[in-house]
Assembly symmetry: C2
Homo-oligomer: 168 residues x 2
DNA sequence: TTCAACCGATTTCAAAATGCAATCAGATGA
DNA sequence: TCATCTGATTGCATTTTGAAATCGGTTGAA
């Protein structure tokens, strides 16, 4: 648990915490897939993370303050993982990563519809989504708009093979 | 040189290309430090990249289409590395990474002044910087505004211990 | 009460990535 | 001639990652 950094550059510090192949995948699934338990994160992801890597990343992300862990009252062994404000602050970053990936890499249609909506929705949509995430993960006030539902509906519409009617 | 990806998710694809501790450091130094040669990238960075890692990343980034390599006419052994449109498209991502790092991590004052300016400058400033990068790296038309100079001047002002007067 | 299924991990071991130091051959310039 | 600089490469130790099996406790249905 060394707390020495290579430099005080904001880009470098961000990379030292998030610069690997799995950390942002875990946060992505918690954020956009609403997966809150170990098993959900382990089995419901396309990329097939190994259980030891998942356990390690959850621990690291907790140490760095991006997520918290709590007992799930419904099951004595279940742990409920939640995003902190620090992780919720990554929404714009995810939006830009998605936009860049969509523009330059061989994305699939189903898995990029969310990125497309987030890109066109812009900062207003990101802010609404962040408010919603605060409600879900931090007990904040429940907002009127559910960006999560919009994204989910669009995804399911594409999977069903229909043209998704983008909500106004 | 396998071209198989874990999934078609834009976030995942972006991570598979940029998700390590060094790739974005190299691009950052080319972009914000205007370092174009192997030696410059090797020695002028705070984070002290190893020469074999640098060689490997330059090769990888070329294969993925983020940078190009050309002979430097001034020296038969010198190679000149340039950013492509793909890498220049990362400017907004760097801006958000810098903003997030500045907010949540122990950044140093000198090394975060650029991130601060980029954050307050917003999309207009990012676009101007991208135009300038196209001029420098891709032979595009030279723009009137030099964001690079603004960032560099602000950095040097902080290093000199003065309060930087943020250009209007 | 039994028991299979599920819970969040941990263990083991092989493979790959990383880090460091030394080194390389060709080009340059004094 | 020769020290210096160029973009790398090599060898080797350490660290990280990945896959599969396993762990002890919990749950809910038979």
């Amino acid at each position: 648990m060394k707390d020495e950094y290579r430099s005080g550059c904001p880009i470098n510090l961000t990379l030292e915490i998030l610069g690997d192949r799995w950390s942002l995948i875990v946060i992505r699934d918690m954020m956009f897939g609403n997966r809150r338990h170990f098993r959900e994160l382990l089995t419901h992801s396309e990329e097939r993370i190994a259980s030891n890597i998942l356990a390690d990343r959850l621990k690291r992300l907790m140490e760095k303050g991006l997520i918290t862990k709590a007992d799930d009252p419904s099951h004595k062994q279940k742990a409920l993982y939640s995003l902190t404000e620090m992780a919720i602050g990554l929404v714009p970053l995810f939006a830009h990563m998605g936009a860049w990936g969509r523009r330059h890499l061989p994305v699939s249609e189903e898995l990029s519809i969310r990125a497309e909506l987030l890109e066109y929705g812009g900062p207003a949509m990101w802010a609404a989504f962040m408010e919603e995430l605060r409600a879900i993960h931090m007990g904040g006030p429940k907002p009127d708009r559910s960006v999560f539902s919009e994204l989910q509906a669009a995804y399911e519409a594409v999977v069903a093979g229909k043209k998704a009617a983008v909500p106004a």
